[in-house]
Amino acid sequence: MTRSVRWSLLRSGLRLARRSLVLWAVSIAALVVLVVMVYPSIRDRTSLNSIYGDLSPAAQKLLGGSDLTSATGYLSTQLFGFFLPALLLVFAVGRGAGAVAGEEEQHTLDLLLAQPVPRRSVYLQKAAEVVTGVTLLTVAIWVPVAALDSAVRFNLPVAYLTAVCVQMGLFCAALGLAAQAVAAAVGHRAAGIALAVGYAVLSYVVYGVSASVHWLIYLRPLTLWRWYLSNDPLASGFGAAETGVLAGVCAVALAAGVAGFERRDLHA
């Protein structure tokens, strides 16, 4: 089999999804531009910091910090702490759960798989489509922040911006691939969405509350939020352990997904 045939489902999938991908990317970039452009009007009003500063440590954690007026504090509380990962999760989990199970529920999986490709390959090309989408959206976030950096005087090192974007992308890809694995293993999109969203919300709360409730600290390693955020990539750059764990979760989700999907009888 030639290389062109091998990745042909990915290419045709991306071609068919290009309009919605562009729409997602443009919308997210526009939102980021909007939020970034507000920064100069807030930068010098340090009194704003008392708003978040009075909150409990848990609430601060959930909101992405207490510091509204520094560049990293602003980006963290307004974008990277919750808003952007939540948006990206909606995309990743939706696409992931729909990747295989969506085709199955729409009765189009039979025709895809009637072609001479191993199931594993169909699964992986679908996963590649999800990861490509997440990557595209991450770039759509990185570009406006980097482009406007000097205009709004963030003075954020590019490496740190890249670090937070990559860790966020990996974090969302991991949950998207987990949603794909669960949904494909049972043939129902809703199963993947429910588990991934349920986990994301619950682990977000655990991650935040663990700042005040001491024993919860032991559960933090189980929350992917900890591996995305707690090395503070905006202020300190890449965390080797963080990046490694997130990439590892992606790999495990892929392997488990392939195994679950290959073994199954498909619904007609």
Binding site: D110, A114, Q115
Partner: protein
């Protein structure tokens, strides 16, 4: 018994059970290269299960399926390289154009011959540039046929291929199948009604409640089929003798006088019937088209009710 080299498809004691839901039970079927075999049976009789096992969408509980000697599970990719499939439940994404659908579902096959695609679409009278959402059910079925017939394969597995097609297109479909068969392709197709299969298939396999109830050549079924006839003499006085003469003909039964005519049933050749009528002045002779479905079910089935439900 044919050797495995001549077989395009062979299921060996294939059983698929889904908990309480019945799939197929011990189905052993052989399809020779170049044959057209029709699977006939009610919905739920196991036609789709058998076909989807060939393509490895579902795995046998026991038994196996081989396509050109290749196991459907362990050599699934090679099997699918040589096989095209038309699903019974045919749904395409509504926002896609016909061309996109074709590209999507043949992307992982060798490049299609564009002339072949165009000629297929033309013959089926299908506009490939229209969106699926704008197509009627019949037109969607045609699109499915284009997806199945466009690639160069050796085996066509067609689940209910003519459902939704008008009679004219059913004839065009039969023509398409005949051309592919002339080129050496083997065809396995299904229907819940015999009449859709009898123009196309050379052999028919009857599935009932997951079991293979019968397999026979269509010619043999035709030979066993009963025609109903009605002969009316010019002179009503001849009626009793005419009835008596018909009753003496072998393989004629149910001779009854019915008003000014005699009705009868006849199996196999009509020749003896015509000769026995030669002595009389016959005003009219009506013979109904043989109902193969009736023949099939009366020959093999104890009850026709469940097998003929639509």
């Amino acid at each position: 018994m044919p050797t495995s080299g001549d077989l395009a498809l062979e299921s060996r004691a294939l059983t698929k059970s889904y908990g309480t839901y019945r799939g197929v039970v011990e189905v052993s079927l052989q399809v020779r290269v170049g044959e057209v075999v029709g699977l006939v049976g009610a919905n739920g009789a196991g036609k789709t299960t058998l076909m989807r096992t060939v393509l490895d969408f579902i795995r046998p509980t026991s038994g196996s399926v081989a396509v050109f000697g290749l196991d459907s599970v362990t050599a699934s990719v090679q099997v699918r390289r040589r096989t095209a499939y038309l699903p019974g439940e045919l749904v395409f994404p509504a926002h896609l154009r016909g061309d996109d659908v074709l590209l999507r579902f043949t992307a992982a096959r060798p490049a299609l011959d564009p002339r072949r695609v165009r000629s297929l679409a033309d013959r089926l009278n299908l506009d490939m540039s229209r969106r699926v959402g704008e197509l009627s059910k019949g037109n969607r079925q045609k699109l499915g046929l284009v997806v199945a017939f466009a690639p160069e394969v050796d085996l066509l597995v067609l689940d209910e291929p003519t459902s939704g097609l008008d009679p004219l297109l059913q004839r065009e479909f039969a023509q398409l199948v005949a051309e592919r068969v002339a080129a050496g392709v083997t065809v396995l197709l299904s229907s819940h009604v015999m009449s859709e299969v009898e123009q196309i298939a050379s052999r028919v396999a009857l599935l009932r409640e997951g079991r293979l109830a019968a397999v026979d050549e269509l010619a043999a079924i035709r030979a066993q089929s009963r025609r109903r006839g009605r002969a009316r003499p010019v002179d009503p006085v001849d009626l009793p003798q005419l009835a008596e003469a018909l009753a003496r003909v072998p393989r004629v039964s149910e001779v009854t006088a019915d008003g000014d005519a005699v009705t009868f049933a006849c199996t196999g050749e009509m020749d003896a019937v015509l000769k026995s009528l030669g002595r009389f002045r016959v005003a009219a002779l009506d013979v109904a088209h043989a109902d193969l479905e009736d023949a099939f079910f009366s020959a093999y089935g104890e009850s026709t009710g469940d097998g003929r439900a639509s």
